[in-house]
């Protein structure tokens, strides 16, 4: 099972997105929210993301879903920190809309054959969804 980390500027948004994604039927993937700054403000934290990645990993790697600007930078920094610690967790950031991407990723991640690549691909498929015909 591939783990997921949801990184938003708002802790509430990250928790809410994880909550919605966890409802997806068979999707019992590990989804860890990592939103907001350590003091509860709006923003993102590399330390918090790194801890979330370690907590989401069940051995098959982790896919990180992000919202805006610094969420991407702090997620990249968190991965660099893990690399510097010789972590063996396989981690990728998905280039996807955060809510739809997390839903898609959650469905794929729960599958027994899920890989980091297949979960990233499914998150990025979310770009194709239209809300209005």
């Amino acid at each position: 099972m591939v783990g997921l980390v949801v990184v938003s500027h708002s802790a509430k948004a990250a928790e809410g997105i994880a909550e919605v994604a966890a409802q997806m039927g068979s999707a019992d993937a590990e989804i860890v929210p990592a939103g907001g700054t350590p003091d509860g403000g709006i923003g993102t934290s590399a330390d918090r993301i790194r801890e979330a990645i370690e907590s989401a990993d069940a051995g098959d790697g982790v896919v990180v879903l992000v919202d805006l600007g610094s969420a991407v930078m702090n997620a990249e920094l968190a991965i660099e920190m893990l690399d510097a610690e010789d972590s063996d967790v396989e981690v990728e950031i998905a280039d996807a809309p955060i809510l739809e991407g997390t839903l898609n990723a959650a469905v794929t991640a729960a599958g027994s054959k899920a890989t980091v690549e297949s979960v990233v691909a499914s998150a990025e498929d979310a770009w194709d969804y239209r809300k209005l015909n």
């Binding site: 709006i42 934290s45 330390d47 600007g69 610094s70 930078m73 702090n74 990249e76």
Partner: protein, 259 residues
């Protein structure tokens, strides 16, 4: 070791100055950021550098100057929300390896270049995107040229770099933002000065002030040194203090583009 002590003292003095400046400019930086961003730049920078001030005060008395600079970066990563954390902190942390053998004219140029490269890489911003890169790029290029080509003393090189950064800040005003939260505003970002370029300039100004203080002898660290003070020694040591500051300078970049 006089040189190493001087460098340490200069790094610590620079941190104090930058922390004071960020706290003093908190409201101004936030005003700039409220026009085209999320109005947190002043608060983030002030909180980050106040944390750095405390961390440096607690640092091991034997820490190398390069390690102190690394501590600045690591602390900013942990304490600054927003893009300033990874941009300033991550870039300082990664460039600090250039200072492993001490702060010299040569290593400060290497630090400056590594810092700029990391900021650009992390933020994905090039010149003209209305970010801190617009202040930092001319500053780093000017510093390098002044040291390596024009053979200027580090203090003069740093003063020229600050002038270049100031022109860079002014250059951000008419630009349309292409990175960070400001890019969502499109043309409405035109006419506003970039907050990250501005905080970069402030940090560089404080590094220059630190260098001037040390080099002009207001603080005579040579007296604490164990080595004799020949004119040559004094010059060399002064140059190193300078570099220190410079290094920090570069280090200080910020929140350019991200949100």
């Amino acid at each position: 070791m006089a040189d190493r002590e001087t460098q340490r003292a200069a790094v610590i003095a620079a941190v104090e100055r930058v922390a004071d400046r960020m706290t003093a400019e908190k409201t101004y930086l936030t005003e700039l950021d409220s026009a085209i961003g999320d109005a947190d730049h002043g608060a983030n920078m002030a909180r980050g550098f106040e944390a750095v001030r405390e961390k440096i005060a607690d640092a091991d008395a034997d820490a190398d100057p390069g390690d102190l600079v690394k501590t600045v970066g690591v602390t900013l990563i942990s304490e600054v929300g927003g893009a300033s954390g990874p941009l300033y902190g991550g870039s300082i942390m990664s460039a600090s390896t250039e200072l492993a053998d001490g702060i010299t004219a040569e290593s400060s140029v290497a630090f400056a270049e590594a810092y700029l490269a990391k900021v650009k890489d992390r933020g994905g911003a090039e010149l003209g995107a209305k970010t801190m890169v617009d202040a930092l790029t001319p500053a780093v290029h000017t510093y390098k040229k002044s040291i390596e080509t024009d053979d200027l003393p580090p203090l003069e090189a740093l003063a020229k770099a600050v002038d270049a950064a100031e022109r860079g800040v002014n250059y951000t005003v008419p630009l349309r933002a292409q990175k960070g939260r400001a890019s969502y505003l499109g043309w409405r970002s035109v006419g506003h000065q970039d907050p990250g370029a501005t905080s970069t300039l402030f940090i560089m100004e404080e590094l220059l002030a630190t260098a001037e203080e040390y080099l002009d002898g207001d603080v005579d660290l040579e007296q604490d040194a164990t080595s004799p003070t020949s004119p040559d020694d004094a010059e060399e040591s002064a140059a190193e203090g300078d570099d220190d500051d410079t290094a920090d300078d570069d280090t200080a970049d910020d929140d350019t583009g991200g949100d």
